[in-house]
Subunit: 345 residues, 2 copies
Amino acid sequence: MKATIFQGPGKIKVEEVPDPVIHDPTDVIVKVGYACICGSDLWPYRGLVNRPEGSRIGHEFMGVVEALGSEVKTMKLGDLVVAPFVVSDGTCPECLVGMTTACRNRQSWGLNGNDGGQGQKVRVPWADGTLVVIPQDNLDDHMLRALLPLSDVLSTGHHAAVSAGVSQGLTVAVIGDGAVGLCAVAASKRLGASKIFLLSTHPDRAAVGKQFGATNIVAARGDEAVEQIKSLTNSLGVDAALECVGTAESWDTAFGVVRAGGNIGAVGLPHQTPDIPISKIFSRNIGVKGSAAPARHYIPELLPDVLSGKLDVSAIFTITLPLDKIAQGYQAMDERKEIKVLIKP
Amino acid sequence: MKATIFQGPGKIKVEEVPDPVIHDPTDVIVKVGYACICGSDLWPYRGLVNRPEGSRIGHEFMGVVEALGSEVKTMKLGDLVVAPFVVSDGTCPECLVGMTTACRNRQSWGLNGNDGGQGQKVRVPWADGTLVVIPQDNLDDHMLRALLPLSDVLSTGHHAAVSAGVSQGLTVAVIGDGAVGLCAVAASKRLGASKIFLLSTHPDRAAVGKQFGATNIVAARGDEAVEQIKSLTNSLGVDAALECVGTAESWDTAFGVVRAGGNIGAVGLPHQTPDIPISKIFSRNIGVKGSAAPARHYIPELLPDVLSGKLDVSAIFTITLPLDKIAQGYQAMDERKEIKVLIKP
């Protein structure tokens, strides 16, 4: 089969590799139909985090079960499944409280001998704990594009909103107009937010944000964005600030726009982000929560709304490429020419 | 009238001062029946924070309305009222969202010309916004002792629990066995916590904690306490850690006992507390929230349960003194001989 190999910063290659086989009785093999490139795949691509050269890459994929380990109970051959961005056993105490990203048997796609999502096939460890079966057949291409983001970005946007306690009638500011920020807009709308400010200086991304439910586009950054949002909220600020970037500046903006007693839901991977002075929390009773989304825990809750068409973030995929051209996709995302790249292996 | 004067670290005096008079039409004068000494009054007493010498002190009191400004609408002469530990106008955007401690007209008792709660009378600014009327007459001494903690420590313990999202069936660890920690136990029980671990190495305080609803006493501190709680929770930790101390060590304990995806509710006044590395939050999806409790916002919710006898934390008052002997009370609390001192002016 073909799979994407990370060969060092800036070097993405597709190579012929051995087909995966069942190794443990809890494994399945998935034939990948849809995969994509994540903003976090760009971190090693840009040399900002280390990743072993020669490792597989990709952690968002959907496909059909092609082989089953003898102990797998919740799926059968031919089932359409979506994979969350980490492997989880589904049975440890952390998984049982919904914290699948803290699973005691957590594994990462593409590392330590695991296949990556950006390939034609993937051996999935702990298949019952990891995968979610899509309980419908004959889904069209549009619906499949709407389902794939459950794997990561839609679940992550939802996690930002949940971590900040977004609920009916609350006001929200989303910091970050990447795929995750845009999904955070859609998730906030789904949870009933009455006002959703999206910070975006890119008209194309702002347009997608509007489509997903943003009520106000704030075409500014930093202090200027804070001022604008304050002036639109009676100098109060918003109930929930969703931090979907991870830099020192975006955290400052989050603390700036959130009201006294409000919450910051943070999902932007911290990058040279300074410590949080306790005074920043204590001076105004600000809540801070977030990190990697337990996508496996959220997918069953979000899935019905995706299947009904109520929750459709497929517009984040601004280009579709075959696996052979995935290097072009990395380049386009690196240059921010595309929001998110869909791959059909 | 007589009032308590802070005369510098270690120096508490009761002096004759002029009776307060109505200054603004939104004022009332309260004749104080019950007051008390707060752990935070000990900070200037110990010289750990600055407070003007000669200032009044005390911010927890209950009494009867003795004079009314012309614009006061929600109370009448003779009403029994309880005062939250800060003055709030009740009408600004922050007050309207329940963040009365962030009121735009916030004032502190005992400072900038305001009376302190540890005196015979208090002029109350923004009386409608600040005070809560107790809607019952002829309450006995025991009930009045149960009501007074609404002023601060009971509302603060409740705030720790609310900030950590305590609800039906969750597991809680309370760090700190002072009056606030003990009230956090009672508040967690009221909110339905299924298991409440109280860290306490003082048998007398542990006994009060048991009475308030602690299911397990952990007679240890730091890493040893963390180990014990982990071993009792399937190595998971608790859903909610209530930080009621404010030191670097107690914060470490909070991060140590809380489970992945759990929440820290923090009300211990930070004291040389280091910044929070974002990695501490991000590595395990920990939520952090808290600060000064919006007592004025909570009192109407808690009051019915106090009046019905369901929520009774009067046992935190381990000694009662007349106003003239208040200096003894400061000394006893400073030496941790008493949990909390009730003053009858």
